[in-house]
Symmetry: D3
Subunit: 291 residues, 6 copies
């Protein structure tokens, strides 16, 4: 039986993960696993999960949930060698155990689909974090997430050392060009937002010019988003207004350019690709039937 010496989660698990996993199992199993029927119900197997690329793990709590032995099968077990956020290298065995064979084979693919995708997000995030590490700014995510996976992907960003921007449209105010155009000016947009929003939400203004930045700060923006500006312009603005507000740099960051932005002194750099274009981390499952 499993002892769970290691807590697989890093901080708080994303709300609703369990029903997400159940829905995905259902998506795969549908009205029944047509192949598994040829197996005996009492067949047992040993398994181990091996990483095939360097990276940062995410999703071990889901693995634990899917492969946790039934209490009545006393010889079965599950051992974790890592937790979410652990940096791993090719060949590392991150978990191993003993379990009913039908259960394992039916759930194997769903488990790997989560683990590989979420670890892909964590791994790419950690690369960005590593690039900016020395400069004291935070890598943050965006709302460019896979439909239906937002909370899980934002958790993966945290596992990779990143921080989270707002979760959705409801827990933060971000005034963009269209909001400004609609209301007439940054100043009046900020004033309207202060009146209409819940007063515990901060107010960020997206700016494309230095003049806009000045107006936003004047209007009392809690955070200013510098949209698609060059590192030079960014540095100039940050230097001039340091301390009056917080700064977020945004726009097509990649692993090469991000450090230049980090050097400018911005507080946050948001990177869409860590959620919308992270390749899966290759992970493999070895299964051996016990005769």
């Amino acid at each position: 039986m499993s002892l769970h010496q290691i807590n697989p989660w890093l901080g708080e698990p994303p709300i609703g993960w369990m029903s997400h996993v159940e829905t995905s199992l259902q998506e795969d199993i549908g009205p029944g696993d047509a192949t598994n029927r040829l197996l005996r119900n009492d067949l047992t197997c040993e398994w181990r999960m091996e990483v095939q690329q360097s990276g940062v793990l995410c999703g071990l709590g889901i693995l634990q949930y899917l492969f946790d032995p039934e209490p009545e099968n006393e010889e079965d077990f599950l051992n974790l060698n890592a937790q979410d956020g652990t940096h791993v290298r090719q060949g590392d065995i991150v978990a191993y155990g003993k379990l009913n064979a039908k259960t394992l084979l039916t759930r194997e693919r769903t488990c790997l689909n989560y683990l590989m995708r979420l670890s892909g997000v964590s791994t790419l995030t950690s690369k960005f974090v590593h690039q900016v590490g020395a400069h004291g700014c935070k890598i943050i995510d965006t709302r460019k997430t896979t439909p239906g996976l937002r909370l899980l992907e934002k958790y993966a960003v945290r596992c990779g050392g990143g921080s989270n921007h707002r979760i959705g449209l409801f827990d933060g105010i971000l005034i963009k060009d269209n909001h400004i155009a609609a209301v007439g000016s940054i100043t009046s947009a900020v004033q309207s937002a202060r009146l209409s929003g819940n007063y515990l939400l901060k107010l960020e203004v997206e700016c494309e010019t230095e003049e806009q930045v000045e107006e936003a700060i004047q209007a009392g923006a809690d955070i200013v988003l510098l949209d698609n500006m060059s590192p030079n312009t960014t540095a100039k603005i940050v230097e001039k207004h340091k301390g009056k507000t917080l700064f977020e740099a945004s726009g097509s960051m990649n692993l090469t350019t991000v450090e230049e932005y980090a050097k400018t002194g911005v507080d946050f750099i948001s990177v869409g690709s860590i959620t919308h274009s992270a390749p899966s981390l290759a992970i493999h499952m070895e299964v051996e039937l016990i005769p």
Copy 2:
């Protein structure tokens, strides 16, 4: 009002797509869009969707659903210049229209998240399809899909010119190494599967050696999966057994190696990366408020 001259879908839309979209909207909006409250309810805007990279589109039916004007706003409209499966180039405007501003701004991100991800899958699939095109074999997907997005991603594979392997564990029998080990031999696994499965499901056997292939064919496998074999071995096997069964090549295909496998004469090549590691296609939304 929209005329819908173009059907956005390629063949049948994936079952359940509409409630998937509603759930994703809810994920983003939560208890309310905190920024949008500063806009007037009657504000209208013109928008256009511009592709920023060459690729193959997927998800225009979702775009149409999200940005379709209310019948009572008679001046609003939505026009499509493309449908799912259309090859597009940087700068192409794939759709444009006129819509209530609050509706548009609240749904913009969700729309792009679908369109960019699904078009990413279609685009990568079409590259594989292009590589093997002359050799008469099909590119097929796997069960390595994003949890919760299987039907949508399998639809995106079709839009990219690929074909679908089984949807899940329920609509096809695929006997793998562990099933064989559990039952003792390929022959007895095939026999058990014929008895236990619904008789309208075909039976595929995963083989790692030539001996296994011979036994699988002897046992009556409808399809043989050649797992991680070299192009040479693959070619030799296909040549020897052509016509007795169908062949699927599988295992870490990439855009460079896939053609060699296509030349071997296999019927199908399955590629996990078209769903698990396709980068998003860059798409941009231009919005202009109408004063």
Copy 3:
């Protein structure tokens, strides 16, 4: 406390049975059992389930779920004398136990409604199976099931010794007269279906004449359905084409005519009435309160 020495299920339980049972309980109990309120909470009773007609049981896993004692009531128990698929005779006690009286009385009707209906299906199926037993062909079900009960009724068919045709429209291709008419010919229908369907699905063609059978075989049908043909015609066709495809006989089978069809050498006989017109098996529950 229950020991569960006997596994009530025959092979794999039908997916989703537990939430089906919960929904049915809710259907009966609604906002509360108005009669049960007059009972003391701590009242216990002994019960036994007695069959009142010969037949084949189905639904004991549901009985076990509904009448399983709470672990904290140590003297309570549940014993099974049979499992799904067991042939029983009038007077047989199939299960007995001790349980909280309110729990039992509130769940009794729901339990019997499942057990009687599913055992009715199993019993009628087993009669058909018995009729054709010597002739080596399989009795299979159809999609003529009770709305909402498909997976349960298909499980009951298996308990009665029958086999399952496709579960629904998604796990098998069955080309009928209208599909043929729509496309122009059997040949082109089969070709289209091969292209449009998932390639792990077999292809069955419904034929009404010998010419159609020939064309279907020529076109490569995996299975040919002989629709409403006489035993003579059926025999003639099977003899002529044995080995080239599989044959299913279909059309208003009853317990008298089915054997004649079995003698023709067909592989499958599908019978709609085993699901759409099976009478319930009479089962009775005896309850005795413990003073």
Copy 4:
């Protein structure tokens, strides 16, 4: 386009029927109709629904819902020749219309499954009603219904001319032998029930002896259920106590015995078999494609 001159429903439709039908469609279609993909999207067909046995119809509202033309297809239509509760004979065309072929073929089986099963219940009910017609007593149903179909089957009973007993455990109080044993006597059971139940619920007592009947009447039972008594005993009791309460006869009624019970003067006769063992009414769908 459909004109709906005839209201298909008899009185009020059963609550929730629409989502019941949607769930059943989903049960059949699952992730997609694998055969229908070979049809063109714009193919149209004419259809008619023909009864193959005499009986009483039920389910035409479901037929109308499933086969109702889209408003934009102006030449399509649906015509009803009957409504729920109509007595029909072999060969009667109960409905006909014109519709998109894919829509029709995907929904045909689900439609027939409802219509045949519900009409089976209505038909058997009407036979019982016919048997007792002259004697002024009502045929009523029981809670012995198919799990998940209770409201639909109780509606079918009404279509067959029967009446409904309570819908579930919540809208009526029925004190049975076990309740009596638990509390000690009929008198105290009735008193407890009066106190614990909602006071708008009537109170029925199940009696097996004449003494029990006397006690139940004395205690104020609104209705007395005469359980498994002979027609003679039933007649004697009813004669003696006529006017003091209402009487329900119950227990293994069939079409032969029911009239004898009707003659005894009871107010209600409950018959379990009208819901738990009614065979389907044979109904056939003719489809002709329009070239």
Copy 5:
């Protein structure tokens, strides 16, 4: 670990309470408690629940559910000093325990929201019950409940010593002025209702004049609702017709007027304000962290 010596519920808990509580937790927590993240996961606290006003408790089962310790935390516990329906005074500690701090702080508000509201209903009900106590009539509720809380509020009414009128439109027949106007007369309304309703439902008629009362009794109403009549008129009617039917007085009752109505001899007095306008009972939670 908790011992649960006291059953918190008074009689049967309201059906579905558990999923109601889960939904309310979700309403408050949404995608995560943003403050709680700063706490250590292993922090424990002692808590006690103190009443700040005299009243009658309701909702302790919900408290127990929310604050019940995990079995693996052996030192944690939960003790109840009261159960639903207990009369408490300012300063009474109704429950106390030891629990994980994050769990407690996240659930505290939801727990109090239930407890304060439901105890408010119980408390106001008990005041009405006290006013009429000596006169042998029952205080009953109405359908004027908070949307979504009906079963919980009707349970709270029982905890306060009141009784329940029908739960909804389905478990009782109440003929009002509009029904009478629609059908033409009380007599024909009663007759129609007898025919159309389930026969285990009683029939109540709302009357505004003495003539209507006479007609309702003549027509066989099981209960007569005297709508907005003065105590004098009420008394006169009850005296004249005592024993022929049951009487319910209704219409803007308050704690001053209710006793006059109770003296008239009516069987029931229905009071809308006990559910629609009961102020919350003030209850406070003390929490002390264990270092």
Copy 6:
């Protein structure tokens, strides 16, 4: 047919209100309205909604949804004389129309339950707002709402002229005494919260002493909650620290004391009773059947 000249909603409707209303209808109707069955289906009535007390309306969008005529009934209509937030007096007709009688009578109670409760919240809120109006501070709500009704009640607060505190635990950080005790000091609690929370959430600290206020401001709290302080202390603190942070006064406010707090110069006064103890606003529905 309805023209909807007046938009019933004040700003944005609360997310999910429509499914909330459907659930409440279901709660009341259950398996069917047992009384309504006696009415003819084609009966029409005129109705009008009359307020019986002065107050502020909330819920007219729900009324419009429930009583909106079917488009095919051309003579039916619905007219609004008010919108949410309108101040009304006894006798005001807020809406009137013509509708199918069965529809109206089945939905009447559910409609009134929403309208009376929500208008009760708006009305009480507006009284508090009126008390503090001259002093430039805002009345805000708390999380002390009815379980399941949070978004609706917070909308009602806005209709009454109040503002909203955070919606739940997820869209604002509020550090209370227990969080402070857990971490050791206000300073470290604020620092931890800044690190662990989404950076678009403001940070409020609950203080009970002047020393705590100083520390909170020093630590950078965006808002300081002055918990249960006297008006004098509150005034002293606000005067001393005006401009450094925002201040919220909280603790057992009533209509008498609230003005004293408003005079202190605080920015917000939070009042639990506006949601947890607002009595319903009396509203009446007149219905007249059209012969």
